[in-house]
Subunit: 351 residues, 2 copies
């Protein structure tokens, strides 16, 4: 294994030039006579020379890596963000370094601090860390937060209030006025924003939770919902909506006939479950990409915009989990009985 890779010195000796010339032949085209450079390149190729990235980066201090912290790799919400971020990083000649927090604030902080000195910048996607902890990181390296606004730290978010507005409008079209919000993690910035927007747009709304932002969290919510039935639910994310609907269905409620459900994120499974979810889709890919380009720009000396977060538009994907409000909502059949409900065929979602 690893015969010790050839270095510029090996190449230099073989080509009969100085090491610095070899270095320049690669790093500074034009600085070196074309014929010489060509010869060096040939010799280097023969020797199978590749610049040692660590060594290259030591003098410049730049590692050409940017860190991306996510709360949970398994959460499909992040996959598009990761893709977008990776695209942008690759295009800029950077490598992405993923840090998985596994939904734990301390693990997140630990992992990030470990990665910090090795990266030129950091993108924090849905961080569970405190604002001040994030600011502390931002003092050491360029940081961009995603899906969250932190004072004095540049951030990229989707238009949550607008998403809520679309959801509310869609539900209102179907006759739903009072909406029950199923809250996600308290540490989630998006959670707060969404609830605030909802309360403003639909003052009759109420809030349940918080629940874990997962299928089981949604199932838990179903139990609470049974005690205080509702015709329309806005769930913190798709996973919760899925859990909610499953449990509700098991309890005998029919979705969407008895309860309309709208959630957030538009993960892949949203289209696969029955009924397919009506959900607010954030421009995940674009957000990941934007976050990385922003971090890179700051690392290159750009002055971060201080005029608040960069807001990208979201859209509502209407599928089968929402429907016209049923007439007789006075005494819901579910929550008391246990009869199996019917389910509804999946319909194709938008794009």
């Amino acid at each position: 294994m690893a015969e010790r890779a050839p270095t510029i010195y090996d190449v230099a000796r073989a080509a009969g030039v100085a090491a610095s010339t070899v270095s320049r032949a690669f790093a500074r085209p034009g600085r070196v006579n074309y014929a010489t450079a060509e010869r060096i390149r040939r010799v280097a190729a023969e020797l199978g020379y590749r610049a040692h990235p660590l060594a290259r980066e030591l003098p410049s201090g730049r590692t050409h890596m940017i860190g991306l912290g996510v709360a949970d790799i398994g959460n499909p919400f992040y996959t598009e963000i990761i893709r977008g971020a990776q695209d942008a990083a690759t295009e800029a000649g950077y490598t992405l370094m993923l840090t998985d927090a596994r939904e734990s604030g301390t693990r997140e902080q630990e992992g990030l601090e470990r990665a910090l000195p090795a990266v030129d910048g950091l993108v924090l996607a849905t961080s569970r860390m405190s604002d001040s902890a994030i600011r502390a990181l931002a003092k050491q390296r360029p940081v961009v937060v995603l899906n969250r606004a932190v004072a004095d730290v540049p951030s990229v978010i989707s238009d949550n209030p607008d998403g809520v507005r679309r959801a509310v409008a869609h539900l209102a079209d179907s006759g739903h006025r009072d909406i029950t919000y199923l809250a996600g993690p308290e540490a989630s910035w998006a959670d707060g924003i969404r609830w605030r927007a909802l309360r403003e747009l639909a003052p009759g709304s109420r809030r349940l939770g918080p629940y874990a932002p997962s299928v089981s969290g949604g199932a838990e919510a179903a139990a609470d919902l049974a005690r205080q039935p509702a015709g329309a639910v806005l769930a913190y994310n798709d996973a919760m909506a899925i859990g909610l609907i499953r449990r509700l269905t098991a309890m005998g409620a029919r979705v969407p006939r008895d309860v309309s459900v709208v959630s957030f994120d538009n993960i892949e499974a949203a289209e696969l479950v029955t009924p397919a979810l009506t959900t607010v889709a954030a421009p995940l890919r674009a957000m990941g990409r934007t976050a990385v380009t922003t971090v890179l720009a700051i690392a290159d000396g750009a002055v971060p915009r201080t005029t608040g977060p960069l807001v990208l538009p979201s859209r509502l994907v209407v599928r089968a989990s929402t429907a016209q409000r049923s007439r007789n909502r006075t005494s819901p059949a579910w929550g008391t009985t246990n009869a199996p409900g019917s389910s509804r065929r999946t319909e194709a979602g938008s794009r």
Copy 2:
């Protein structure tokens, strides 16, 4: 930003010792007088000193990073592998560097070659690269392949033949003898193994495909299947099974009453769709973990076992996509009509 981080020299000056002493105070406890070390640690903490990882690694030649190449981060199949790998890496004090190939062999090779000089070892999960290309990589760095056997390269795989055996046995229990295999990517090693195992265990089996290992690939397969109906299907992976079932249902077939479907991987969505999938589950987490520990062992000088791949057991998770063979299979109602079929309630899966 980044006031230039303090170095050992800064710490050394502040503590009134030589830089080498600072270095040893951290790296070689005991080598330095306890009181001195304590003082150095205190001063370092005050200054906010953190060892620059690049600089630390240059002399030793070890980067303390290990690369993990996956075909597609978005594929839920990899998330458990990633978790297992990350666990093992973190425990050993290593950082994981993910490389996403996006299902493209050339992109994979490119990304891997870029990462290669920066890592101490490489884990290739379901690589689409050729055996010889992998062997070439393995000559430069410790490499372990996952879900695939490559001669002369250590590998970790799940027991595919045993998985197929369990699937076949389960289907046989329900009266299914002839099984249609829905093939995945031709470059997939697992695909070949599975088909071979199936043909051996159930000689009456037939093979359709190859299809893309995705929901849409499964939908495509449904069209072919309609032309040559079958009572039992073994699909290359869960995503294909989901696509297959959706399209089949849309065409009027009832799953599992008309067609039983078994697939591979047991991704999260397998439990969420309707009907929930009966699927062969590989010990993904353990595989990721094992692959990393193996790579690390080799990097530490262990001699890789040459007696073939490390095989981890798989198991069958029985859910709702399989059922007793229906009696009158002579003229299937589906494939010709277009009537909507009924769907079936989801049932809890085993774990």
